[in-house]
């Protein structure tokens, strides 16, 4: 249980949100030219690191907007929250 600062609604409890996996995965420009392995890499392979991870979250039970979050997966500390399309504030 932790508090997430939704960029639209403000501080809300985590149970109002849903996690949407890793963020900033770019779709290949020419999917037809990729091999099956490369396509699978894009489609299925996720980093799942222990430490600082870039994620997508959605405020399901609130404004229903998607946003990005930088979270430390080892202790759930939220480093930053920013809107979709924005550049990450920290690297």
């Amino acid at each position: 249980m932790f508090i997430i600062n939704c960029p639209y609604c403000g501080e809300r409890e985590q149970s109002e949100f849903k996690a949407g996996g890793e963020a900033h995965i770019v779709r290949p420009k020419q999917p037809t030219e990729l091999s099956d392995d490369e396509w699978a890499e894009y489609l299925f392979m996720r980093k799942n690191i222990k430490g600082i991870q870039f994620e997508r979250w959605v405020h399901t039970h609130g404004c229903r907007k998607w946003f990005n979050m930088i979270r430390d997966t080892s202790n759930d500390e939220i480093k930053a929250v920013y809107k979709m399309g924005d550049k990450p504030p920290i690297k």
Binding site: H61, G62, R64
Partner: protein
Amino acid sequence: MLNYINAITEEKSYSGLQMKEIKPVMKLIVRGKKREFLSAIGKSLNLLLPTEANTSTRSEKLTALWLSPDEWIIYSNKISDTDNNNYEIENLLTKNITKTNLGAITDVTDQFVLINLKGDKIFDLFQTGSPFNFNNFRNKKGSVIQTILAKIDVIIHNENQNEINLFVRRSFSHHLFSWMNDSASRL
């Protein structure tokens, strides 16, 4: 002509808490992003949509609640005519908003049930089933919040000191109301 059937038939009263359904009340969801959309709504209804998060605006006839940066719910302050389910305001907005491709208007009158709660124990009740911190909310008249209450999605509007309007989807309303009664009886 629509038959208005109550989702909740009883009116419940506890010490410091009264709950009842208010119907029929017109409810519309309006969606749009453009600046022209906001000004067109403002002109049509004589009511500016709130652009600040978790707030509401009110005119003599209507109240508009902020739901998300591009979504609002508008509801009538007074109960409407039971003999008809055709709303002047909806027709006006369809003409000025939908037909000019500025945004979308959806009639959700029958989708949402409006429960009115009165009394000084409202937030003690909410505390038992919601993860939201109501401390600032309760003192800010006109504030709005979408959250979960007993695991059900609700829209809560702080209408007045010790008076709350709560919107819940019709299919969940009966369950929520019985949960609220159960919870209120043990406050």
